[in-house]
């Protein structure tokens, strides 16, 4: 057992490092590089960097060269990401498009669509978003209500999507709609690609509890799309969506906060309980130990997955545990960091609070992270059903026509 690269992996890593050294700045040397002054500049920088990567074969590394990819292996891709993470480069505004949308276009789109969209997306010339979730949907994605009605050779779309990240700067999106309410919910769906700049598409940001607004609501009012924009057959939307959702895990990153056990040890050294240094308190020490063991467990679970990839095997299901553990740990560790500050723990001010307020921010953020891209509860269902082979819960709406299935308001 070791953490070493194979010869091929080592060679690839060296090549990647060399290229990154030439084309980017390592984080430790990037402290005085100013962050983009606005969204526009951020997008411009991201596009430029993506194009550079594409030219060098580091964009969509695992995709065939003829589509603008790198023609590499999964492990090549892992190695590149590991190395890139050490450099100050623009972040993931393409993750959802390239991780979820374009793969869907490639598997289900018409040849013209592929020709038209894949390469520009790989180069970062065009950005894509995913439009599945709805207010009435939530965990039950297939419960969506956005209508697409045939009108001659076109479709006319009305309805609302929610939790769409990047909708305000994306060029295109893939949109899941209901084209037949008279059949059970999974059977009446159809997928389209749409132009996000169409005036019939209105994007409104969603403000979160944290104060941030990374997501949007998207409204469609008589949006007209050509039948040629259909992805997959009419009524096959759910099958198509599964292609996309299989890759969702990749796209749901989301910061897990900046405070972990190292920071907690530092804080505990610098705070006290009943007049003694908190770090001497056995309960503080037990929490540090428990969270350290959890973090190590997740790290080495990732290593087991990488090993499988490195050996060309399919990774086991163990990676499915990651968010279940990480989200709750994020909330509890943040909350406990606040407790150690006692009455002062309520302060939310980067200049006053330890670690620039990391504990407070992650306690607040975790409330969303425990929900985003699969709640704690849904993820446990998935482990129970897909990993342990337990039966699905009773689906009362399974065989009912969508328009007759019980719904909330």
């Amino acid at each position: 057992m070791d953490f070493n690269d194979t010869t091929e992996e080592a060679a690839y890593r060296a090549q990647v490092r060399a290229w990154l050294d030439k084309n980017a700045t390592r984080k430790e040397n990037a402290r005085d590089i100013a962050p983009p002054k606005d969204l526009k500049e951020m997008i411009a920088q991201s596009k430029a960097w993506q194009a550079k990567k594409a030219d060098a074969g580091y964009a969509c590394i695992t995709w065939p060269k003829e589509w603008g990819g790198g023609g590499g292996t999964t492990i090549d891709n892992v190695i590149y990401s590991q190395e890139e993470s050490k450099y100050a480069v623009p972040g993931g505004i393409f993750a959802i498009g390239l991780g979820m949308c374009i793969p869907t276009v490639m598997s289900w789109g018409a040849d013209e669509a592929k020709e038209r969209f894949v390469r520009p997306a790989v180069r970062g010339d065009e950005i894509w978003c995913q439009l599945f979730s709805e207010p009435a949907g939530g965990s039950d994605v297939a419960g969506l209500r956005t209508k697409a009605e045939k009108d001659g050779d076109d479709w006319v779309i009305n309805g609302q999507k929610v939790w769409t990240s990047g909708a305000h700067f994306c060029d295109y999106g893939i949109l899941l709609t209901r084209t037949d309410p008279n059949v059970p919910k999974h059977k009446g769906l159809t997928m389209f690609w749409i132009d996000m700049k169409d005036p019939a598409v209105e994007v409104r940001p969603i403000k979160q509890m944290s104060g941030g607004a990374e997501f949007n609501e998207v409204f469609f009012t008589n949006l007209r799309v050509k039948d040629s924009q259909r992805l997959g057959k009419e009524g096959d939307g759910w099958k198509v969506a599964l292609t996309t959702l299989m890759n969702e895990r990749l796209a749901v990153g989301g910061s897990q906060g900046n405070a972990d056990t190292d920071e907690l040890i530092a804080l505990a050294r610098n705070t006290d309980i009943a007049g003694e240094p908190a770090i001497r308190h056995g309960g503080v020490r037990e929490r540090i130990a428990d969270w350290y063991v959890q973090a190590q467990g997740l790290k080495f679970t990732r290593f087991r997955t990488l090993t499988a990839l490195s050996r060309g095997e399919t990774p086991g299901p163990e990676s499915s545990i990651s968010k279940i553990v990480a989200a709750k740990k994020m909330q509890d560790l943040g909350s406990f960091g606040m407790d150690l500050q006692d009455m002062g723990g309520v302060i939310r001010d980067r200049k006053i609070s330890p670690e620039e307020g990391a504990y407070t921010e992650q306690w607040i953020g975790a409330a969303g992270y425990r929900i985003a891209g699969g709640t704690d509860e849904i993820l446990r269902n998935i482990v129970a059903e897909r990993v342990l082979g337990l039966p699905q819960d009773i689906r009362v709406d399974k065989d009912l026509p969508f328009n007759q299935a019980p719904k909330g308001k």
């Binding site: 979730s133 207010p135 009435a136 939530g138 965990s139 039950d140 419960g143 929610v162 939790w163 969603i206 403000k207 979160q208 509890m209 104060g211 705070t271 006290d272 309980i273 009943a274 007049g275 308190h281 309960g283 503080v284 909330q331 909350s335 606040m338 407790d339 150690l340 500050q341 006692d342 009455m343 002062g344 723990g345 309520v346 302060i347 939310r348 001010d349 006053i352 609070s353 330890p354 407070t360 306690w363 607040i364 409330a367 969303g368 425990r370 929900i371 985003a372 709640t375 509860e377 446990r380 819960d393 689906r395 009362v396 709406d397 009912l400 299935a405 019980p406 719904k407 909330g408 308001k409």
Partner: protein
């Protein structure tokens, strides 16, 4: 066995509840939070007009001369509404401190104004992000003047008087005294400090040679006085926490009945049912402990310190858990700014830290249990 509130007390509770349901819906809490108002002036005015601020203040000082039990039922309703008012600072803390330890003159000076709501009071202990402890009290009182910085101070902007934990020299607990500082006199400046719950304003209080006098007449007794004041406040805050937990549980319950997933109310799934049952269990444990706290507080019972600690530990656990799982039950919508879930999420943690974190109270509790157990 008479371990419940009286009919009069329940009637008072009902009145407060009706008033707040009518005058202090969540939209008011939202307004105060978004507009960063110091507090909801019209709600405060209403509470004052009902005479609630004078509840536990002796009649000779302009109060109603009722007891702790009446304050407890009021607290539970303020908690249920997550009311954005300075009641806890002014009454549980400032007024109680004066009632318990003030000289006749000090009571005459301040209690009538606090009872009538003419002024607001507060307590200033914390000096940043370190635990309340004698070693962390640096604000100095010397020659009748206080100098130093207190942070965060709840309602410190709106308050006219503050009971301030100060260092008067000496070793350990003996170094601590409580001082009465007239915030409208000179040498005082306050700057709002951002907290997790802007519906309750907190400030950084900067004192520079601010005129002050010792609470009571002996200095060096501040730590034990503070400990008694915080015991009482812990019980009252526990009732706010019970009310808040109950409100968060009701929000989650109602939503789980109206929200459907996979053709069923989400409230019919065991994951939700057991989550809400767990909230209920913690809430009842908190309530029962708080009842005993109320009884000890009202009787000045010998077990007040244990009862107060138990009330606080159970109350903080119940409300924080209820608030967190209420958001979780709501799913994505619960994390949005437009949702009211955020107000309990914020308030629960605010109250859990307000008079000190549970991990500190557990130390205090177990020290008492050790002593008993040895005896």
């Amino acid at each position: 066995m008479n371990f419940d509130f009286s009919d009069d007390q329940k009637m008072l509770k009902e009145q407060v509840r009706k008033f707040l349901a009518d005058k202090c819906p969540m939209s008011v809490t939202r307004r105060v939070l978004e507009k960063e108002e110091p507090y909801a002036a019209e709600v405060w005015k209403g509470l004052v007009e009902m005479g609630l601020t004078g509840t536990a203040i002796p009649e000779e000082f302009g109060g109603l001369g009722l007891g702790a039990l009446e304050l407890c039922v009021i607290a539970e309703e303020l908690g249920r509404a997550a009311a954005p008012v300075p009641f806890s600072s002014s009454i549980y803390l400032a007024a109680e401190a004066l009632r318990l330890f003030g000289t006749q003159k000090q009571k005459e000076t301040w209690l009538p104004k606090l009872a009538s709501g003419e002024i607001i009071g507060t307590l200033a202990v914390s000096e940043g992000t370190h635990a309340a402890h004698p070693r962390n009290i640096a604000v100095k009182l010397a020659g009748g003047k206080v100098t130093g910085v207190k942070q965060p101070v709840a309602d410190g902007g709106a308050a006219s008087v503050a009971i301030v934990a100060v260092n008067t020299g000496g070793a350990g607990e003996q170094a601590v005294s409580l001082a009465i500082v007239d915030l409208k006199a000179g040498g005082v400046s306050s700057e709002p400090v951002r907290t997790i719950d802007p519906s309750r304003q907190h400030v950084t209080l900067t004192l520079k040679d601010a005129p002050a006098e010792i609470l009571g007449d002996k200095q060096g007794e501040g730590w034990s006085q503070l400990s008694r004041i915080l015991d009482g406040a812990a019980v009252l805050f526990a009732f706010e926490q019970v009310g808040g937990a109950e409100a968060a549980l009701e929000m989650a319950r109602d939503y789980s009945l109206e929200r459907y997933a996979f053709g069923r109310q989400i409230g019919s799934y065991q994951a939700i049912k057991h989550k809400l049952a767990d909230i209920y269990v913690k809430k009842e444990l908190a309530k029962s402990n708080a009842y005993f706290g109320a009884m000890m507080l009202n009787d000045e019972g010998a077990e007040l310190p244990e009862a107060a600690a138990a009330s606080r530990i159970a109350g903080s656990d119940a409300y924080v858990f209820a608030a967190q799982e209420n958001v979780q039950t709501h799913g994505g919508i619960g994390y949005t700014w437009e949702s009211d879930c955020q107000f309990h999420y914020r308030r629960a943690k605010l109250l859990a830290l307000a008079v000190g974190a549970s991990i500190q109270w557990k130390e205090k509790l177990v020290s008492r249990l050790e002593a008993k157990n040895a005896a």
